[in-house]
């Protein structure tokens, strides 16, 4: 019982922290359209390694829905959910292979997050030429993944 209470409290703190990070990130100007660091993913990486895929997924979904309700729109909800779902799936699979470090897993997460969002953009606008942004988004995902991975690995080591 105590273990469960502790776990619920930890998940709550994680959701709150991830939401604060997404709010903070909205103040950081994006260098290129669509490229973001994805600060809340630090929490996702932390949970994935500390508490397992199920909890990382649950916290991601709750965070995405609450953030969209507070600061976003239906459109941003679809976007973020697609990104969160694909990136978490890819990270879970790569973590299981044990081939990559936390930074490598996070890079794959960042890139797949951007690919999912681009796919949603193509689906919503019905314009295939949006794929023009694929190279930019892949590189952006790599850089974001490195930043998030290093931050996540540091947090895992110290908390």
């Amino acid at each position: 019982m105590r273990v469960k209470t502790r776990s619920v409290a930890l998940m709550g703190v994680c959701v709150a922290f991830a939401m604060i990070l997404s709010y903070v990130e909205s103040f950081i100007p994006s260098p290129v359209y669509g490229v973001k660091i994805g600060l809340p993913n630090i929490v996702t990486v932390y949970l994935l390694y500390k508490c397992g895929a199920a909890r990382a997924g649950a916290v991601s979904v709750v965070r995405v829905i609450l953030t969209a309700l507070l600061f976003g729109s239906v459109m941003s909800l679809i976007y973020s959910l697609a990104g969160a779902f694909l990136s978490l799936s890819v990270m879970v699979i790569l973590k299981k292979t044990n081939l990559f470090s936390k930074v490598g897993v996070s890079i794959a997460g960042g890139v797949s997050h951007n690919i999912a969002q681009l796919a949603v953009a193509v689906a919503i606008t019905g314009v295939g030429a949006v794929a023009y942004y694929l190279p930019t988004l892949v590189l952006g995902g790599v850089v974001a993944g490195i930043v998030v991975g290093i931050a996540g690995a540091t947090v895992i080591k110290r908390v």
């Binding site: 359209y33 669509g34 990559f100 490598g104 030429a129 790599v142 490195i146």
Partner: protein, 121 residues
């Protein structure tokens, strides 16, 4: 060096090289565009030649975007959407380049002169 770190570096290199190849394909094989095609909600509504300087207001269900064509380049200078991401886009001039405004479901795509390809599916 640890095996996982080596794999990380290989992963980054593969991603970087594939991004570079994609970028090369896109920029080498896309000729200079001739028309800016306006697509609202998946359907083409208008096309403007890039050779003529114009300024048009694109109306959509949820708002508007101001499209400016100047010196062979198309750019969105004003929009009703709250995030204004389409204004942040660089101006487009090459075939295949696009400006997207998701809140208004509006896309500006550049098409080449010889091709009558319509990017709307």
């Amino acid at each position: 060096m640890k095996k996982t770190v080596r794999n990380d570096i290989i992963l980054v290199l593969i991603l970087a090289v594939s991004a570079l190849l994609l970028w090369l394909c896109v920029s080498l094989f896309s000729p200079k565009g001739a028309y800016a095609v306006v697509t609202v909600d998946g359907a083409e509504t208008a096309r403007y030649p890039l050779s003529e300087n114009t300024e048009v207001r694109i109306e959509s269900e949820s708002g508007y975007n101001i499209l400016v064509i100047k010196d062979g380049k198309a750019d969105i200078t004003e929009a009703s959407c709250p995030d204004g991401l389409c204004i942040d886009f660089h101006s487009v001039s090459k075939a295949g380049e696009t400006i997207v405004c998701l809140p208004n479901k509006t896309v500006i795509s550049v098409v080449g002169s010889e091709s009558e390809v319509d990017f709307a599916q």
